[in-house]
């Protein structure tokens, strides 16, 4: 089965590309007269044969949004898979253990406080500030949850989930307080955070996301063997030459970085890190060597489908994407709970 990994990756990449092309065509605005090829050629040659509105919708609205769905979905799914490997439990996902809320709390703080200095700094730094704040929030909550729930490399799942509940409550209360304090413009931003949406996609954001994700993936995606070995227990993994402590630190920092950046740009999109590994486990067992790289692609597929549905199902308005992922994720959460009832 391990030898077929390149084939699986190839096939799912084809699915993703087909989906992305389909998604380009879907939406309120209709590209009636010209095919995408023609629009791209016109853009390349910089001629005026194509209406400006076509160009604008394609290049500045639809394409960045699709790219962002691919990036965010991928990052969230890989974060979830890595965390599940580290906590050795299929319930560990960024949102259930409170990391997403921790990140969005810090993002909210930086929106409300940052609005005072926002006019004086360029757009790029503004986004960076937001993602750095969200990263710090994610890192703090993850370290806290891990410290609380894990002793001697063994995680108490109930404590892990409950500390997630506690952090979510704490962050929820603080965000509520911030909403109460904030001005109208900030209020819109904050609501956007809590529901999650890819509507704010732009090429600047995609650029930052892409750099961070490429960096994190280059380190994490090859750690499948290590995560497999950690199922034996951390000491036994160490005897197999796996540098357990080093890998755990990397997972903590890099998933915090990815979750933080995703939250900063697209708000709290829940359950992606839970759904994707769950489906992959059904297909490939828990072999992280396979499900880690596959979750990078399946995460993109899931979020891109969800986002395409969210902006077409109730056109011309769109429903928040968090609602869709929660509809998929919550039943899966319950199924995993029922299955692992004995071992909890």
């Amino acid at each position: 089965m391990q030898n077929k990994l390149p084939l699986y990756i190839f096939l799912s990449l084809i699915v993703l590309i087909l989906l992305a092309v389909t998604s380009l065509y879907m939406g309120v605005y209709e590209f009636e007269k010209h095919s995408f090829l023609e629009i791209f050629v016109a853009l390349w040659n910089d001629d005026n044969s194509i209406p400006a509105s076509d160009k604008f919708v394609l290049v500045n609205l639809r394409l960045p949004r699709i790219v962002m769905a691919i990036l965010v979905g991928s990052a969230l799914a890989v974060s979830g898979t890595c965390l599940q490997g580290m906590f050795k439990n299929p319930l560990a996902s960024p949102d259930l253990i409170g990391i997403t809320m921790g990140a969005s709390l810090f993002a909210a703080i930086s929106i409300v406080l940052g609005s005072y200095i926002k006019p004086y700094i360029p757009e790029f730094f503004h986004f960076s500030m937001l993602s750095i704040a969200a990263f710090i929030g994610a890192l703090l909550t993850m370290t806290m949850v891990y410290r609380i729930s894990t002793t001697n490399g063994k995680t108490n799942v109930i404590v892990m989930l409950l500390s997630g509940v506690a952090i979510t409550a704490m962050a929820g209360a603080t965000t509520g307080f911030l909403i109460y304090l904030s001005k109208e413009e900030q209020l819109r931003d904050l609501t956007f955070w809590n529901l999650g949406s890819l509507g704010g996609a732009s090429w600047t954001k995609n650029g930052i996301l892409a750099v961070i994700i490429l960096f994190a993936f280059s380190i994490l995606i090859t750690k499948g063997k290590a995560l497999n070995a950690m199922m034996l227990g951390e000491r036994d993994a160490q005897h197999l030459g796996i540098p357990v402590e080093k890998i755990k630190k990397r997972i903590v920092v890099l998933t915090a970085l990815m979750v933080g950046t995703c939250v900063a740009f697209s708000g709290t999109i829940g359950f992606v890190g839970l759904i994707v590994p769950y489906i992959l486990r059904l297909l490939f067992k828990s072999n992280y060597h396979i499900i880690l790289p596959m979750s990078a692609i399946f995460g993109s597929i899931l979020l891109l489908s969800a986002d395409t549905i969210s902006r077409t199902i109730a056109a011309p308005s769109e429903i928040p994407i968090g609602i869709l992922t929660a509809f998929m994720g919550a039943p899966i959460f319950i199924v995993i709970l029922i299955r692992s009832k004995k071992s909890l």
């Binding site: 391990q2 199922m231 197999l240 030459g241």
Partner: protein, 258 residues
């Protein structure tokens, strides 16, 4: 091979090991025995470099573990631990192949698969190859992990070292003997094995030397016939016993309760 001086360990102010000195030679099968709570597993963990300690360093092939190249070390030593029967949602083959992780990067070579199959044959789990690990019984799981540990040391390195913490738990008589024969074979090829056992008669039959522990101290470290005497054993285990010669193989035979 392995030299440790003045090992002490305490947990929450309760002393578990006190000033233990051990030297283990090349080609030796050393068995650690002792009543419950004697510190056998803790000593094994210490020797296998699982726990941080502040005492004098443990020397493995004249080098401290810190001086070893961490990629090289797994080819020289392996450890079988008492399993707390964690669920591993993989096939048996996948679990055994983990023992070959130090040898391949992403896809196992044919030599790795062969090595895994060879060790699986030794612990009699080849037939379970494509079963789900989670559907196995306790004894079968034990044998799968033994195969994994054995396959980790399946290489051309000379003088390897294996630690085994109660490898015979849950095993039937046939497999108990098979495993010990495999370990004995391993040590006769110039390798070293350090094994914690509960069955004194099996220890007497297979061990080159015995470490008898009680309350965190080594009471006796010697050949089986010197350690297994009526006085020492009945005193350490606090239970009357008789020791005679096993009529078949001339090893000490310990009969308790008489």
């Amino acid at each position: 091979m392995l030299k440790a001086c003045k090992i002490s360990y305490s947990h929450k102010k309760i002393s578990i090991l006190e000033n233990i000195d051990v030297t283990i030679n090349y080609g030796e099968l050393l068995v650690i025995v002792g009543p419950n709570g004697a510190g056998k597993s803790t000593l094994l963990s210490m020797l296998a470099n699982e726990m941080a300690h502040t005492n004098e360093p443990i020397l493995f092939k004249k080098k401290t573990f810190e001086d070893w190249d961490q990629k090289e070390l797994p080819l020289h030593k392996a450890k079988f631990s008492q399993q707390n029967i964690a669920d591993i949602p993989l096939t048996v083959m996948d679990v055994v192949l983990m023992g070959r992780y130090p040898y391949f990067n992403s896809i196992p070579h044919q030599s790795d698969v062969d090595a895994a199959l060879k060790s699986m044959a030794e612990t009699d789990v080849v037939a379970l190859k494509s079963r789900d690990y989670n559907t196995l019984s306790g004894g079968e799981r034990q044998r799968v992990h033994l195969a994994r540990v054995l396959t980790q040391l399946e290489n051309d390195v000379e003088n390897k070292l294996v630690f085994m913490d109660e490898p015979l738990n849950n095993l039937d008589v046939l497999h108990q003997h098979r495993i010990l024969h495999t370990v004995k074979n391993f040590s006769e090829r110039g390798n070293t094995a350090v094994v914690v056992l509960h069955d004194l008669n099996l220890a007497a039959q297979f061990a080159d030397s015995i470490v008898l522990m009680q309350k965190g101290k080594i009471i006796s470290h010697d050949k089986p016939e010197h350690v297994f005497t009526k006085e020492i054993i009945s005193k350490v285990y606090n239970f009357p016993c008789t020791i005679c010669l096993n009529p078949v193989n001339q090893n000490p035979l310990i009969i308790f309760g008489t």
